[in-house]
Symmetry: C2
Subunit: 307 residues, 2 copies
C-alpha cells in the first residue's frame, strides 16, 4: 500500500535530481477544446520521459549490498534509458536487456549512460530468460518498469508537482500503458487534490486497461501494434488495484486521432512529443463535452521519437 | 537613430501582447561546446517567431488615420504571418502580398488571422508591383520586414529580455538575414549590456551580411537557396549601419551543419525549431574555441516548419 508519506518522501528524494518540468498552456488548444488545459511537459524530463522519476526512485531505494550488485531490467523503450541514466547518476552498475532489433538511437542512448547491454530475441520469453540469467550471474536487482512500488511512487511525483502549481484542477489525464503513471497520478490526486478526477487515456488498439477497468477483471494485453509504442505493455496488477480505487474513467482514441493530435502539438506548441503523449489530448478533442469550461491537466509523458 | 528610450518604450508597448519567451539550457550542448549556453526560445513566440515583436511594434506606432487604412507587406515567410496577427490584435485591416506558390500552411495561417491575401508571381518585381498596387488602392501603410525603425525596435526587445534574465553574458549570437534581429540585438547590447559581444550567424550560401561586414560595403544578395529559408533575404542598409557599429563579428556555417544542428536540437531539447534557428549553434559547434567557458546567449528565432 502506497501511503501519503511515501509520495512526499519520493518527491523529496528526487528533488534536484530530476527536472521540475514546466507546465505550458496553449490558447489554440483551449479554443479547440473549450477547456482550460495545462500541459505538464515530461518530454523535457531527464532522458526524455517521466520514466526517469520511477527509475531513479527505484535506484535510491536500494540498500548498500544491492547498490554494489547493480540493477537490471528488460526494455525496448524509455524505461531502459531511464534506468541506465538513474544508475549512472548514483554510480551503480546497470545491465539492460534489449531486443536485438531495438532502434540504434535507443541502443546508443543506453550505451551513452555507461550501461551494459545484453541483446536477446524479441519475444517476452527471451527477454525474461535473459533477465533471469543476468540476475543469476550478477545478483543485480530487477527494477521493473511499472508494476513495482518504488516505480509508482516515483511516477506519482509528476502529478504531485502539477498540484503544487495549479489549484483546483478538475481533471487530470494521463496515458495508460503498464499503468505506473496513471496509478501514481491517481494516488497523488487522492492524497493531495481529492477533488481532481483522474482519467486514463488509451489507444483503442491497446485497450486492455479500458477492458480491465470496465469489467473489473485484469484483461490480457492486445497485440502490440499501436503507434503509441510506450503504451503497448499490459496493465500491471498492482497498478490495476490503484486504478480501480482512484481513477474515474478510461477513455479511448483511434490511431488516426493520435497521429493528428501529435502533429498538431508539434505544429502549434513547437515541442516534440512521442505518440503516447498525444493520447490524452486526442481523447479530449474526440469528446470535449465533459471538459468544457474546466481546468484540465494533461501529462505529456515523453518526447523520444526517432527524428 | 534608435536611442535607448526607443527600445525601453518598445518593450513597454509590447509587454503583455507578446510572450516573454523562456530561456532554456541544455547540459548536452554545454558538454558538446564547452560553453554555458542560454537559448532564448522565440519559437514559442506568438506566430512562432520573433517577427511578432517587430510587426506588433509597427502596428502600435501607427497614427489614427493609418490605423483606419490598414497595413500591408509582401512576404512568403514569418513576417507575413506576424503582421497579419499583429493587425488582428489591434483590429487593423491587413493586406498580405504572397507569391502564388507559398506553402498552404502559411497561406492558411495568414487567412486564419483574418488578413486579406493578394497572390502574385514569385519574383521580387511582381511582389513590389503588387504591393504598390495595394498601397495605391487602400492607402494601407507598408510595414517592412526588417529595414524599418519600428521593426528593429521591436526585435530589440528580444535581447532586452535576455539581458534582464542573464547577467554578464559574454556573447549573444543571432541569425542574420535582413538584419533586423541582429541590429536590434546589437543595439540592446550597446545600451543595456555593453560587455556582451554580439555576433551574427549566417549560412555560407547566403553570406551577403558576412561579405558586407568584412568589406565595409553593402553587398548584393546571393541566390536564395539555403535551407534556412528565413535568411534568404538581403541585408537592409539601415540594419547594416547598426551592424557595422555594434556587431563584433559574423560567422558562417554550411548547409550540412545547419541540418545536423537542427536535428540535434529537436532530438536533445525536444523543441521544434526552423533551420534558421539552428545557424548560431551550428557556428558555435563548428568553431567552439572562443566560447569555451563563456556565457553565450543564442536566439532560437522561430519554429515554423512544415511538419
Amino acid at each position: 500500500m502506497i501511503i501519503l508519506s511515501d509520495i512526499n518522501e519520493a518527491a523529496e528524494r528526487l528533488l534536484g535530481h530530476v527536472h521540475t518540468t514546466p507546465i505550458l498552456t496553449s490558447k489554440y488548444f483551449n479554443l479547440l477544446s473549450g477547456a482550460e488545459l495545462f500541459f505538464k511537459c515530461e518530454n523535457f524530463q531527464k532522458t526524455g520521459s517521466f520514466k526517469a522519476r520511477g527509475a531513479l526512485n527505484s535506484v535510491l531505494n536500494l540498500n548498500a549490498t544491492q547498490r554494489k550488485n547493480g540493477v537490471t531490467t528488460h526494455s525496448s523503450g524509455n524505461h531502459g534509458q531511464a534506468l541506465a541514466w538513474a544508475a549512472a547518476q548514483q554510480n551503480v552498475k546497470a545491465y539492460i536487456v534489449m531486443p536485438k532489433n531495438s532502434p540504434q538511437v535507443k541502443v546508443d542512448a543506453v550505451k551513452g549512460y555507461g550501461a551494459q547491454i545484453i541483446f536477446c530475441e524479441n519475444t517476452l520469453q527471451a527477454r525474461e530468460d535473459s533477465l533471469a540469467q543476468v540476475m543469476e550471474n550478477t545478483k543485480a536487482t530487477f527494477c521493473p518498469p511499472y508494476n513495482y512500488k518504488p516505480t509508482i511512487e516515483g511516477q506519482a511525483t509528476c502529478a504531485y508537482e502539477i498540484f503544487e502549481d495549479i489549484n483546483e484542477l478538475e481533471f487530470l489525464l494521463t496515458p495508460v500503458g503498464g499503468g505506473g503513471l496513471l496509478a501514481g497520478s491517481a494516488l497523488s490526486a487522492h492524497y493531495f487534490s481529492p477533488n481532481t478526477q483522474v482519467i486514463g487515456c488509451e489507444p483503442e488498439l491497446a485497450k486492455d486497461a479500458f477492458l480491465s477497468f470496465k469489467t473489473g477483471t485484469l484483461q490480457p494485453p492486445l497485440p502490440p501494434v499501436t503507434i503509441a509504442d510506450g503504451l503497448r505493455t499490459s496493465l500491471g496488477p498492482i497498478n490495476f488495484g490503484y486504478i480501480q480505487n482512484h481513477v474515474s474513467d478510461i477513455l479511448l482514441c483511434s490511431e488516426e486521432e493520435i497521429k493528428n493530435t501529435q502533429r498538431l502539438i508539434w505544429q502549434r506548441m513547437k515541442i516534440i512529443v512521442e505518440p503516447s503523449s498525444a493520447v490524452p489530448l486526442a481523447c479530449v478533442l474526440k469528446n470535449p463535452k465533459p471538459f468544457v469550461g474546466k481546468k484540465v491537466g494533461i501529462v505529456l509523458s515523453g518526447g523520444n521519437v526517432d527524428i
